[in-house]
């Protein structure tokens, strides 16, 4: 069964690149351009994985995450933070809100990103 991913990313270049790559890999990818939209999308349909940017307009990633954890319908959603910020404080806050992982976008190639997502969603590479 095709796994679904919600990509919350405000930068249109990164959003386009990610979306393209993950779709090429066969995932069902939806996108949100800011925090509010991300929240609406999740509530509309909880994806198998939320790739969540932190610094976004209207509502930042941590606020989205905390809202999701507070809602019984969405509290168990799997979330990976994708940020270009390497502030320890943000890592700690994200960890406290129970994220699967915290990735620095610029340190990953699209392929690596895609492989990690695949591994997360489909288990170890066959």
């Amino acid at each position: 069964m095709t796994k679904s991913i919600l990509l919350a990313e405000d930068d249109r270049f990164l959003r386009r690149a990610c979306e393209t790559k993950l779709k090429q890999a066969g995932f069902d990818v939806r996108v949100a351009v800011d925090g509010e939209e991300a929240l609406t999308c999740v509530r509309d349909k909880v994806p198998d994985l939320l790739l969540l940017d932190l610094l976004m307009p209207r509502r930042d990633g941590l606020s989205v995450l905390s809202a999701l954890r507070g809602d019984p319908k969405t509290k168990d959603i799997r979330v990976v933070i994708m940020s270009n910020s390497s502030k320890d404080l943000e890592r700690q806050k994200a960890a406290a809100l129970g994220v699967v992982d915290y990735w620095i976008k610029s340190n990953l190639s699209l392929q690596e990103l895609c492989d990690r997502v695949t591994q997360l969603l489909n288990g170890p590479a066959r």
Binding site: F13, N84, S109
Partner: protein, 653 residues
């Protein structure tokens, strides 16, 4: 007749004396025999030695003419009369030597009688010089001790000391000199002279003089030993010779004031007579010099301590165990603003910040139990209501029930530490922020190129590469902004002045952002006063300012908003304003709006790509062009930015 009688008398006496084995001649007391007319009949060798007259010089002469001082004639006559009347008399008095000097004596007059009655008298003189001198020296010593005891400095004591010494040795004029270590000179501290002597010129010259080592009193300084001058008026090297001559001064002696063997000063005395060196005087003053030197040392040590206390930049105080200051130095007034009376009239704990009181009381309790205090910090309230941080080092003295304490004002250091912390935090924020801002377009470039590499579709490839290029542009924009900021900050940015039409420039910028305005459906209204002159400005920099402010207005105003631009002139200044109906800026954020990397708290809700450099650059540019920029705003209502620029000197109409 009388002469014959006299000769007979002298002969008789000599015979008697010889018969008694030279009782008179060999007597160590000075003995004189006069006849009933007070004429000398005989003197013994002791007399000759005491008064300096040979017997032959005065025999047969009235004794009054030789050894009686003018002011003692009545007294001498009285004594003689009593002797002639057959009575024994005794007096403690003075007589004059041949050299003019006075000698203290005890004089006993014994009648000389034979069967026909009193025919003359013996005068027996006992030299009291040594005894008198010892008495006077004792008195002088006592007067000096008293003067020193009542003085806190040698300057205060000087006049009393000089007077006491001068009077005790019957010298008239005294001067005290202290060594000025910096100038390496002797400086006159005080001068004393009795009113009866007119030594005005000598005093003036003495007080105005300074002597090096080896000159004048400086000789005593250099030699570290007393000195005696028999007659200063005969001394060609004596610089105050003429003035001394005018005052009638002749003999002089000086002695050093010694502290631990070092000369700290010199005392000199002058007298009206020409006198040979007197070992007794010199001996006495060696001891006095020591005493004066030690006094100088003591008062200096005290002065130094006092100065240390007064001049210390730190807050020095003594407090009692009851919780009151008993002594504070001047720094308390300087730093906290209270008078010492104010400080000492209330428990010091009342001045301590209430948050620090408990700790302070615990510290004081420790002190009263004998535990010294080091680096204890608390805050004291100043008279103006502000607080200063003080760092204490305190020591208790249990037997006195006193605390000796030094407090250092660490307020500035604390502030600096805080600033450093803030700067450090800002730098960290800057690094993480810039890191984030640089990584985003870099990731964009990297990922777009990766996609382009992996696709065979030429159209797709081109589209990815175009996005990569755009990301690169954004990256370059950011780097350029950082560079501009850095150049403006260091003043290295070149400003190129050229004629600029402010209205035209505004329209040009608006053409560039027209698409954005249309997309957000803003209502744009521009009004310009008709007579806007052409100004000499840097068009590139000005363009950057206008583009930045208009882009912000468009960006931070929700769709369908209203943006008004006004261009005008007031006197020698151009002004330009832009008002939007956007999200506004909180008062808190307005204060820091033009700071580097500052972003208003609500800016992220609209745009995450902002660098916090835009308005900072705008301010730097406007200021560089000699203008000012201000902002008025209300959250949710909109914002007005307004800047003015001076019309440069070469304005065109």
């Amino acid at each position: 007749m009388a002469k014959q009688a006299s000769r007979a008398l002298a002969g008789t006496i000599r015979e008697h004396d010889a018969a008694l084995g030279g009782l008179i001649r060999a007597n160590p007391l000075a003995i004189l025999v006069v006849d009933a007319d007070d004429c000398v009949q005989m003197v013994n060798p002791a007399f000759e030695q005491l008064f300096g007259y040979r017997e032959a010089e005065i025999i047969g002469q009235p004794i009054d003419a030789f050894i009686v001082p003018l002011d003692r004639t009545m007294e001498a006559a009285g004594l003689s009369r009593r002797g002639i009347e057959g009575k024994t008399a005794r007096s403690f008095t003075q007589r004059r030597r041949k050299d003019g000097s006075l000698v203290d004596i005890e004089l006993t007059v014994v009648p000389l009688a034979n069967s026909s009655g009193t025919i003359g008298a013996y005068g027996i003189f006992r030299d009291l010089t040594e005894q008198k001198q010892a008495e006077r020296h004792l008195r002088a010593q006592y007067a000096v001790i008293e003067a020193l005891a009542h003085s806190s400095t040698i300057e205060d004591a000087a006049s009393w000391v000089l007077r006491a010494v001068a009077e005790s040795v019957h010298w008239q004029v005294g001067a005290m000199w202290l060594v000025d270590k910096t100038a390496d000179r002797l400086r006159c501290v005080d001068f004393w002279c009795p009113p009866a002597i007119d030594a005005t010129a000598f005093e003036q010259q003495t007080r105005a003089s300074q002597f090096e080592r080896g000159v004048g009193p400086g000789r005593t300084w250099e030699m570290n030993a007393p000195a005696w001058i028999v007659d200063v008026t005969k001394e060609p090297k004596f610089s105050r010779r003429d003035a001394a001559l005018a005052a009638g001064l002749h003999a002089a002696f000086s002695f050093p004031m010694l502290l631990d063997g070092d000369v700290v000063g010199v005392v000199e005395f002058f007298t009206l007579s020409v006198l040979e060196s007197d070992p007794a005087i010199l001996k006495m003053f060696a001891a006095l010099g020591q005493q004066l030197g030690e006094f100088v040392g003591r008062t200096r040590a005290q002065e130094q301590l006092e100065r240390f206390f007064t001049m210390s930049g730190d807050l020095l105080c003594i407090a009692n165990f009851d919780g009151y200051f008993t002594r504070v130095n001047a720094s308390w007034h300087r730093i906290l603003g209270y008078t010492s009376t104010e400080l000492m009239s209330q428990p010091f704990i009342d001045l301590v910040h209430y948050e620090d009181r408990e700790a302070t009381m615990a510290a004081v309790a420790g002190l009263t139990e004998g535990r010294p205090l080091v680096a204890f910090e608390n805050r004291y309230r100043c008279k103006d209501g502000t607080y200063r941080w003080l760092s204490w080092t305190s020591t208790p003295k249990l037997d006195e029930r006193l605390i000796y304490a030094v407090a250092h004002d660490t307020t500035d250091r604390k502030r600096l530490e805080q600033q450093t912390q803030e700067t450090l935090k800002m730098r960290n924020d800057f690094v993480s922020f810039v890191t984030h801002q640089l990584r985003t377009p870099l990731s964009g470039i990297k990922w777009m190129l990766e996609l382009a590499r992996d696709t065979d579709d030429i159209g797709e490839k081109g589209s990815y590469i175009e996005d990569a290029r755009e990301s690169a542009d954004r990256l370059i924009g950011l780097v350029n902004d950082l560079l501009d900021a850095s150049r403006l900050e260091s003043g290295k940015l070149q400003v190129t002045l050229e004629p600029v039409r402010l209205r035209q420039l505004t329209y040009d910028v608006l053409a560039d952002v027209a698409t954005l305005v249309r997309e957000k459906d803003h209502d744009l209204d521009i009004q310009s006063e008709p007579d806007i002159p052409i100004a000499l400005l840097d068009s590139q920099l000005l363009r950057q300012v206008i583009l930045n402010l208009t882009s912000n207005a468009i960006k931070y105003t929700p769709p369908g908003g209203r943006i008004e631009i006004r261009i005008g002139r007031t006197g020698p200044a151009l002004h330009w304003s832009i008002r939007d109906s956007g999200i506004g800026i909180s008062e808190e954020s307005q204060k820091r709006l033009f700071e580097k990397f500052f972003r208003a708290d609500n800016a992220h809700t609209v745009d995450t790509e902002g660098t916090g450099l835009g308005l900072y650059l705008v301010r730097l540019i406007v200021e560089r062009l000699g203008g000012t920029i201000t902002c008025e705003s209300e959250v949710g209502r909109g914002t007005l930015f307004h800047f003015t620029l001076p019309l440069a000197a070469g304005d065109m109409p």
